[in-house]
Point group: C2
């Protein structure tokens, strides 16, 4: 029943160890074409893609993310929500910024950007490459903006490290569908007890990041890890405003 | 060179006309499993998926979106950014909401949600189905929240209408890569003149939504369409706050 694309999507796992090889120019070109052809809200094409090849910038991004595989083996891309381009077009036509500073528009740019990074990941995986999403670039969004010389009305949303896999992680067990899918309306009648079996399953998964121990149960992770901000993540609202985004 | 997944991604087009047939239960199940297995920020799994089968709710969502194909032929899904589930887990464990009300966390939930909708779309297309993303559910986010009985800390981000294609649109021409991809830092030295060729290409594209006329050039669309909010989209920031999201 399953076609090769479905197999990719259903068997997907994050790769965090890559061979000491960069992508070919042709591979990079293909990935960027996939990003380019991704669906875009209202045809406004509000995302941009930065290939980070400079070793110094890569090292600084690695420091921000605090993940040793970032900017190391393989190739690093930063996906940017980008309302600046359309602001420039409007300005050259003598127009004001219209609704570009509204939350609505930022959300659309975020959607464009995330749709693109997922497509690039799927494309890379279909080519035998592995990927890890880097939400960790938001550990210091302001620093990322300075490093990549990002103008007003842009925001460095996610990074992607892509390369030739040098590990084979287990498939990570997900919340059963009953907790994530509903028919017609949201159903919020579940309790901790309902999650016991899943907690047990998660606890038996071995994370390659620390192969010597089992990971915490799902509900224990939710209890312990969402308590306070890591790094400068509580400043993201402020950084967005400084970038001229989500002002209304 | 191209594998079948790359072909799908590079040849992707939005489908807005579907045959009068719903998906099979097995197809729906596969699509929801693909959503479930999508990558998730920090393993927090902060998205939920609502299959809208009730004709009355479908009609009301169609009205919000002002698009006649929404909730008509095929199946309708709403993708929800969902921080509520983890709030409940924390509350049952006697904990406060931690960072769940921060912009940082909302962005992560949005990322989880958009990654999932793109994967579901790719999966559907690999099965011969067609899709249209419905950002238009944000035309009245508050009404969507009421219709789907969404609790605090959730937000109805995007809809997806999926079905058997009943049209074959042209591939829509995208901004050339030179305007969307950069190496190491953002390059903002382009001018309207650089977009002339692309404007011409866009102008020759015939949109099936109005087959009798060519569409406006790209820069003309940017000039005319971003000037003021359509529907209640300028209230999205307020709705997010009412939902307890992006408070900091």
């Amino acid at each position: 029943m399953e076609n090769s694309t479905l197999q990719l999507l259903l068997q997907r796992r994050t790769i965090r160890a890559f061979k000491a090889q960069t992508l070919t120019a042709e591979q990079v070109q293909t990935l960027m074409e996939v990003a380019q052809h991704t669906a875009t809200s209202n045809f406004w094409q509000q995302s941009s893609f930065i290939h980070v090849t400079d070793p110094q910038i890569r090292a600084q991004i690695r420091e921000i993310t605090a993940q040793n595989y970032v900017g190391a083996n393989g190739d690093l891309f930063i996906f940017v929500a980008d309302l600046y381009r359309n602001q420039q077009i409007r300005q050259e036509k003598g127009l004001d910024d219209g609704v570009l500073h509204n939350t609505d528009l930022f959300l659309q740019a975020v959607e464009d950007t995330v749709l693109a990074i997922q497509n690039v990941t799927t494309a890379a995986e279909s080519m035998g490459l592995g990927c890890v999403f880097l939400g960790s670039v938001q550990n210091d969004a302001q620093k990322m903006i300075e490093l990549l010389k990002l103008p007003q009305l842009t925001f460095p949303l996610l990074g992607l490290q892509v390369g030739i896999p040098n590990q084979e992680p287990q498939l990570k067990p997900r919340l059963p569908l009953q907790f994530r899918t509903f028919e017609n309306s949201y159903d919020y009648h579940y309790h901790l007890d309902d999650l016991k079996d899943y907690d047990q399953v998660v606890h038996t998964y071995y994370d390659l990041r620390d192969a010597n121990r089992r990971i915490d149960t799902f509900t224990h992770q939710i209890a312990t890890k969402l308590s306070q901000s890591t790094a400068k993540r509580d400043q993201i609202g402020k950084v967005l405003h400084q970038q001229g985004l989500c002002l209304k």
